[in-house]
């Protein structure tokens, strides 16, 4: 059998992307299109007393200005899938009234014949505000914190008796770790092009959830879902910012209706800082206790993060802590403070990214307190099972990750004494941490078609946000079809296709791979039955299970020369194509099974066909309630710190990841590396500054919000365990987009402590904190 899964093939969309041929959402030009530019509020709270558009209207070429006074009414989103393309701020539908809840809120859209005119006119919109007092500083408003009602019981977790164990503990470590507001800053700004044809709406939108945005637009605009189509063929990164739906596609659709021609609306980089989400600031208090030999007796992880006055979002920093180590007494809590800022939303590894920073830095501190090697401490407290859920892990090879990572970074050369190692003038430090992220899977569907010319096609309404989904789905499909990769085309990013997973929670690979595989296998199954029942076929009368389909040919297991090509069967039968749909109703999320989304009959055909699809049935019959699904890994870094200037250079970074089966070594490495680089930003560079006087973002561009650049790169060594997870799916692959950022931030901070003897608990570790 020609193995395609696992091969490090080049990206199938590579040629388009290197030649400028991949079309992102802002790159469509429907006839008579005009340009929309948003106007945002400049106060953090209050009301618009008056909005004067007269000057802006006088700019020639302006075709419309939409404010709360003249915009169409929207419906509150209903019955849409909260997990896919959720509207980000449920109590703040755009342009419906004059209330201002935060600085940078959408208050008007100006449409004009050219971008220049729209941008110019937008600056002429005059707003008179009635300002009310606002709060925007998390630390100053801790007294207003509350326990969120959303998110359910899993946000407040408890096992054993942490307080009692703390009283009697031999060794105690208690510290507070903070992370600032971070912004995703995907390179492609949020963009939409909306076009109405009668009551039919077409939107090109930069989104991580075409299917979700379609349902959302239909619901908010009061249209039947079949009247809305959303397309997103190429997305210039999302990292969570395009996972929830922000006002921009909705306003674009409203504007196109109002001016009666297609509208293109792209956020400016500055606007992305207030109207496209962010990661919440966190204050995390960790308490660890152990006996004198290092066995953990208490873990407490209390997180305070921000929410807004128009929705609720919890940065679930403590969730991973509940299962990370073996410990009898554990308490996890999450609280929120509502502030006059845009609502936070998922950001690459929501929860786990800041959470593993805090817990893994704390573990390092405890190791030093115990005078114990930090790897040793982790091995001593290794969790053989998820002690919170009392379930086995679906797969976990973390010990091997620690071992291989330590070898790769040269851990044995490390003198554990802080500030003891030098290279020239630089202080040298080594640090490590555990990485982990949920191994999510949700219900998904796909359609497979084999054509008489011998090529095959897959359709699924999921999308490739840059992760490599097109490529690995092509590999999965090619293997199931028994075709070479170049004969398979995977089409994604179109809401007309069977509904696939939204690109969030590292779930697309695990969720969409199985129905693609099952649908392709079903097509080949049909083809084989055609052959064996056809007297003209060399396979006539043979048992189906004795036939192998590979490389475009079907043949007998033991007589490889006895067979025929796919095209021969189809042509003889006069068939243009063979099709099959499959839907796998599988979820690893809690509570399991409940988020099999009602798709309003859209995937009814796929569901019906799947009842007799053996691949789907076998997959759905695995009892996943028995297992806790997570990915794991170990991160190791070596840093160089200039003792005089306090500058930190990550010199080498090693990740050994246990993410199940690796589908494509090349794209997998890139995903992990991208996550690790995000963590370099998180640890050393990034952080959004707000003006303490008026709650406005100060660092609202890429010259002031610093993300890692090429000169910040260490030498990377990225490795995989590459053992399939036997329970997640027949393919055995878990998601990979987010785990790379987890643990890495702590590994850097721990290495800085080792290099300098200074423990910085407030991210980012800028040079002023080290000198």
């Amino acid at each position: 059998m020609n193995e395609i899964i696992g091969k490090p093939i080049d990206r199938v969309d590579g040629k388009l992307k290197v030649s400028g041929g991949a079309t992102y959402s802002a790159e469509y030009f429907p006839k008579n299109m005009v340009y929309g530019v948003l106007v945002l509020s400049t106060i953090p709270r209050g009301r618009i007393r008056n909005i004067d558009t007269s000057q802006a209207e006088r700019v020639k070429g302006v075709v419309g200005i939409m404010t709360y006074k003249n915009s169409m009414s929207l419906h509150f989103p209903q019955g849409t899938d909260p997990g896919s393309g959720k509207y980000a701020e449920k109590d703040l539908l755009p342009l419906q009234n004059n209330r201002i809840y935060y600085d940078g809120q959408v208050i008007a859209a100006v449409m004009a014949e050219t971008f220049e005119k729209a941008e110019y006119a937008a600056k002429l919109v005059k707003v008179d505000y009635e300002t009310e007092s606002a709060i925007f500083d998390l630390k100053a408003n801790i007294s207003k914190s509350y326990k969120p009602s959303s998110g359910g019981s899993q946000l407040q977790l408890k096992r054993g008796d942490a307080d009692a164990a703390w009283q009697n503990a031999e060794v105690k470590m208690e510290q507070t770790y903070t992370t600032p507001v971070y912004h995703h800053n995907a390179m492609e700004p949020h963009a939409s092009v909306a076009e109405w044809n009668g009551d039919q709406l077409m939107v090109y939108d930069a989104t991580q959830a075409v299917a979700g945005v379609k349902s959302l637009l239909a619901s908010m605009l009061g249209l039947p879902p079949e009247k809305v189509k959303v397309v997103s063929l190429y997305i210039g990164g999302g990292f969570g910012s395009k996972g929830f739906t922000w006002p921009n596609p909705i306003v674009t659709a409203m504007a196109a209706k109002m001016v009666n021609c297609p509208v293109k609306l792209v956020l400016s980089r500055q606007q992305m800082f207030t109207t496209a989400g962010r990661r919440s600031e966190t204050i995390q208090k960790i308490a660890l206790a152990s006996n004198s030999s290092g066995k953990l007796t208490v873990i407490k992880h209390d997180t305070i993060s921000e929410s807004s006055f128009v929705d609720e979002f919890v940065e679930t920093a403590g969730l991973a802590t509940s299962m990370l180590y073996s410990c009898p007494n554990v308490e996890i809590s999450h609280s929120l403070v509502r502030l006059n800022k845009v609502t936070p939303c998922p950001t690459r590894a929501p929860g786990e990214a800041p959470g593993t920073y805090a817990i893994e830095a704390a573990m390092d501190e405890l190791a030093y307190q115990l005078k114990m090697d930090p790897i040793q401490l982790r091995l001593l407290n290794y969790a053989e099972m998820d002690e919170q859920k009392q379930k086995q892990f679906s797969s976990k090879n973390l010990k091997e990750c620690y071992q291989r990572g330590a070898d790769a970074i040269g851990w044995s050369q490390r003198n554990p004494q802080p500030r003891s190692m030098r290279k020239g003038n630089y202080l040298v430090g080594y640090g490590m941490a555990t990485a982990t992220y949920l191994a999510n899977r949700i219900a998904s569907a796909a359609k497979a078609t084999l054509y008489a010319d011998g090529h095959a096609e897959i359709l699924s309404a999921t999308q490739d946000i840059g992760t490599g989904t097109y490529t690995i789905m092509t590999q999965i499909a090619a293997e199931a079809f028994g075709l070479p990769v170049d004969r398979v085309t995977v089409k994604l990013g179109d809401s007309d296709y069977p509904r696939g997973a939204n690109s969030g929670g590292s779930q697309v690979t695990a969720s969409v791979g199985p129905p693609i595989r099952a649908a392709a296998l079903a097509v080949i199954g049909k083809l084989i039955s055609l052959a064996v029942s056809d007297t003209a076929s060399p396979l006539h009368g043979r048992k189906e299970e004795d036939i192998i389909a590979d490389n475009g040919r079907m043949y007998l297991k033991n007589h490889t020369d006895r067979g025929e090509s796919y095209t021969e069967v189809l042509n003889r039968k006069g068939l243009q194509k063979l099709e099959a749909q499959a839907k796998t109703n599988v979820s690893t999320r809690e509570p399991q099974g409940s988020n099999a989304v009602a798709t309003g009959g859209a995937d009814a055909a796929a569901e019906e066909e799947s009842k007799t699809n053996p691949a789907v049935q076998e997959d759905q019959n695995v009892d996943r309630k028995l297992y806790s699904f997570h990915s794991f890994g170990a991160q190791f870094v070596k840093v160089l710190v200039d003792p005089d200037l306090g500058t930190v250079k990550v010199d080498k970074a090693v990740a050994v990841m246990d993410i199940g089966k690796v589908l494509n070594l090349k794209t997998a490495k890139s995903q992990i590396m991208g996550g690790m680089i995000f963590a370099i930003g998180m640890a050393l560079l990034e952080g959004t500054a707000y003006d303490p006087n008026n709650g406005r973002v100060v660092t609202r561009d890429l010259a002031q919000y610093l993300v890692p650049v090429n000169a910040d790169m260490p030498q990377f060594d990225i490795q995989f365990i590459d053992q399939p997870d036997p329970y997640i799916s027949p393919i055995g692959a878990k998601g990979i987009g987010e785990i790379g950022i987890t643990g890495m931030t702590a590994a850097i901070v721990n290495a800085i402590y080792h290099a300098t003897g200074k423990r910085v608990r407030e991210l980012p570790v800028t040079l002023d904190k080290l000198i």
Binding site: P189, G236, D701
Partner: protein, 211 residues
Amino acid sequence: MGNNLGISNTDDEEPSSNGTTRRDFLAQITYAGAGLTLVPLLAGTKDILPQAPPPNAETATINLTVNGQKHALNIDERTTLLDALRENLQMTGTKKGCDHGQCGACTVLINGRRVNSCLTFAAMCQGKEIITIEGLAKGDRLHPMQEAFIKHDAFQCGYCTPGQICSAVGLVNEGHVHNDADIHELMSGNICRCGAYQNIVDAIKEVQNIA
């Protein structure tokens, strides 16, 4: 093509007395440098922005040579080269990431040098040789830098990629690269949020023939 390809000669916006233009304001931001020094500026945004429209924005006929092809565009004088390429010529291979010269996504080659097209008015480019990502391949044969980017997986989402590739081609032409560190440094004007940096360096090394 739609009406976005340039509006015919009209005397657009009214004259202004003494307003500060958007670009002046941007320049002030840029000069202000580090974040917190901006506070007074941002706090006073309302006062700096034009109270009345600035002087007329004219349309003009601008001749551009892009990838060897000549184009005459009747466009707003304020149009940047980036917007002229993307919106007027509908050559969307060149990307807009920030519109402020801070990300490199819009990098094109002008007379062989790499330039941020968002910081360049189209009107400044008349008579110059502009090469964009669409102009690097020879027919169906990709430029060696494009091939190397694919081979080394030097992109993920692909949005920074046209700028990275143009920048990389410019870099090689400049002839200042002697080692890895030079590449890391001299490619630092091109941000890749997906984090393909190491692979970009590997791709450039292959084309440069540095071991």
